[in-house]
């Protein structure tokens, strides 16, 4: 199905990134790149530094060493909202939605950075702010239609089952119309059917919007099915980088997953 999809130039380049928390080296000089319209999976055992990597990419952590280049622009000390403005959106391992707000409002918050009118205009509501609101609502409805969540448009998110909350969170990330989408364990805690749905949405997002996706996932069958490329982290070190088949055959990866002792 992905036959004629074109993987383009390098979108994100991670060069020798290191990150320590006290004495723990979460990331140890990790380098890799992500190409446009690619689906890249980061895998590795617990504590391997996967989430730290995502946090570095979207500016939540600042690596002590190394350089991250996004769209050809090297960045220093980027903060999360700046990363978001540049076109990076993400979802979280533990769902981070506004539980009391409806699906629609939650996804609308994904548009927040795109709203140009100041809050006085928004409070007035009429005129340009109204036109802007309608434009954003249309974009949100597009996402709702895409993710097939029309039926829960007005339901408070806290009342939804887990699988649907995950979908709403993906919706909020999509509403920002990102160039790079970071997904932190999008299938965690889902049943088989929900996983299949989520896989389909991830592939569709990539296919329809041309969004580049970096995802962390533990379910190997999912990773092998949907990724173009897989990188493997173990104790902060990158131990493999290649197509799913290459990674599957890599002895270091097998060792890491079987738990060879580290001296």
């Amino acid at each position: 199905m992905t036959a004629d999809r074109k993987i383009g130039d390098v979108l994100l380049d991670v060069e020798g990134v290191s990150m320590t928390f006290g004495g723990v080296k979460a990331l140890d000089s990790v380098s890799f790149d992500v190409k446009e319209r690619e689906i890249l999976a980061i895998i590795g055992p617990n504590g391997a530094g996967k989430s730290s990597m995502l946090n570095c990419i979207n500016g939540f952590y600042h690596p002590q060493e190394g350089m991250i280049t996004f769209k050809g622009v090297p960045r220093h000390q980027v903060r999360p909202h700046e990363a978001a403005l540049q076109g990076i959106a993400r979802t979280f391992q533990n769902i981070a939605l506004f539980k009391g707000m409806s699906t629609l409002d939650n996804i609308m918050t994904g548009r927040n950075l795109k709203m140009k009118k100041n809050f006085l205009w928004q409070a007035l509501y009429f005129g340009p702010a109204r036109a802007e609101e309608m434009e954003h609502r249309a974009a949100v409805e597009n996402v709702i239609d895409f993710l097939e969540i029309e039926a829960i448009r007005k339901t408070p998110v806290g009342r939804l089952p887990y699988g649907l909350q995950k979908r709403v969170e993906l919706g909020r990330a999509l509403a920002a119309e990102p160039d790079l989408l970071l997904l932190d364990e999008p299938m965690a805690g889902m049943n088989l059917e929900e996983k299949q749905d989520m896989c389909r949405f991830i592939l569709d997002v990539n296919d329809e919007f041309g969004t580049t996706i970096v995802l962390i996932e533990h379910d190997m069958s999912v990773v092998m099915d949907i990724s173009d490329r897989v990188i493997v982290l173990d104790y902060g070190l990158k131990i493999a980088d290649g197509s799913p088949d290459e990674v599957r055959a890599n002895q270091d990866v097998i060792d890491a997953y079987l738990g060879i002792s580290h001296d």
Partner: protein, 657 residues
Amino acid sequence: MTGDTPISGNLDTFPKLLAENARVRGDKPASREKDFGIWLSWTWGQVAEEVRAIACGLAALGVKRGNKVTICGDNRPHLYWSMTAVQALGAIPVPVYQDSVSDEMQYIYEHAEAKFAIVENQEQVDKLLEIRDRTPDLEHIVYKFPRGMRNYDQPFLDLLADIEERGRAFDGENPDFYEDSVAQSTGADIAIMLYTSGTTGRPKGVMLSFDNLVITGRNGVIRENLTEDEDMLAYLPMAWIGDNIFSIAQAYITGFCVSCPESSETVLEDLREIGPTYFFAPPRIYESLLTTVMIRIEDAARIKQRMFHYFMGVARRVGMDILDARPVPFGERLLYWLGNILVYAPLKNVLGLSKVRVAYTAGEAIGPDIFTFYRSLGLNLKQMYASTEASVFITIHPDGDVRPETSGTPAIDVEVKIAADGEVMFRSPGVFRAYYKNEEETNKTKAADGWVHTGDAGFMDDEGHLHIIDRSKDVGKMTDGTMFAPKFIENKLKFFPHIMEAVTFGHNKNYVAAFINIDLESVGNWAERRNLAYMGYPDLAGQELVYKLISECVAQVNADLAADPHLAGSQIKRFLILHKELDADDGELTRTRKVRRTIIAEKYADLIDALYSDKDHCPIEAEVTFEDGRTGTINADLRIWEAPLSDTLVTQAEAAE
């Protein structure tokens, strides 16, 4: 046969009626659909343009007079228009149930020799691609929604919008083509072919003419005084005859507007937004609405609960009489008026039923409690007795004389008689032409003089109301000679909100036994209130307390049966709760959710044997079919319980000993 009389003014086909509507009320809305959260509407004038474009596009694609064109998908205006467009070309639309699995589709495509398919989306296209090498007649597939179709490059796939574009070009080159084509069809031509699910054997293709649909539709319009101002929500499958009469025939005849829901999951929300005046729902929808109301009331504040129960008491006493315009004391009227302000009107508003003038239910028996609940709220709910072979209407409750236990009096132009063996028979202008390529079944069902066998056992009472008892072939005898009417007993069980489905056995047996499906929503809620933990349906169904709950329901049914000396012998002695819900995908129910007894009896033969032994449990391994056609197995060990019997039987049994 009366069906052969032509309709006045030559408006005898849907394309002709459409042109008339575009002329008379071109600016009035004809179709609505909610998309991207907004209701879009099309006027009759616009619909006529769209239909013309689709028809011309299909002609350019090669659709010829007499070709079969399948239509498959959720209720979408474009699919409805496609049906009319196909008819405009003199071809025959064959709507197919959108949730059919590939194998069922293959049979219909093969049998109907369908050359073209117009489907909603990728899901339906995928199903057709899967069966394509087994359906050589299928030449071309047209789809409405491009989503996910980007990488499908097969030459026989086309987007509906592209077809319309081609149609407009074709129309420009052949400006007289459309009108000529429409003028060639007459009322006697076949308008649609519907495959009836049938509780036995393969589906049969029921051929209905324009006259069948138009005359029957018009008779229904006259009986209920429908006008062009009605609002209708089209949410039931397009492959079902009712939708063809309500959402197409009657809409085209009167010119009312038909709205399509955003998706099948948003129907209740859409219902509230549209506020239909003319409404149809099968009993299970009324049941689930009522269940939701009751669950929500239990969660409401004490004062609201008391208000609700007090005024529902008032409604039960006098609501039905007020609706049927019978005399009611002034004090009670005043209370009902107050209740309407405080409870009934807000409740109907929440359900989206505020504006309903006529609401129908059919297909299965509706519980008398549910039926009277809605009527006492002032909702004009009526039962009817319907069949595909009759173009829907056989009998309907007349206004002012609605009784829950009957199916009403014959519809306009319909004759009903009871055959010597108790079978209900009818003759009407709506009687189908024939089953497609199945002369044997046609002759078995439809006599030369036009009388049709329904296969249902029933009787007419003194006031001319029809009572339906059961499917004739299902009515059996127990070993002691007691009459055994399975559906009658099952309906009594299903009237309990906790019971979703029931299958009873008893023919040629010495007692009656039952399979029960619990209602996950209702029992789940009940369990939550008791802090009863469960993991999904199979677990909940096996819980001791749930068995106890169901046992109480069965005991009540037994008490009911015991009250009737003819039926006292058919009390339920043993029952079990199935570990999975009966499902149409597994072939256990028809697509209209009727129980297929022979298949269930085969599939669960072990369980039935266990019911008629002294075992108190039985292991079972069942195969389930998922939506994408894959299969899996479920293992369970089911308990079997003895149900409490009511007195009459016990004393009889003692006397016999």
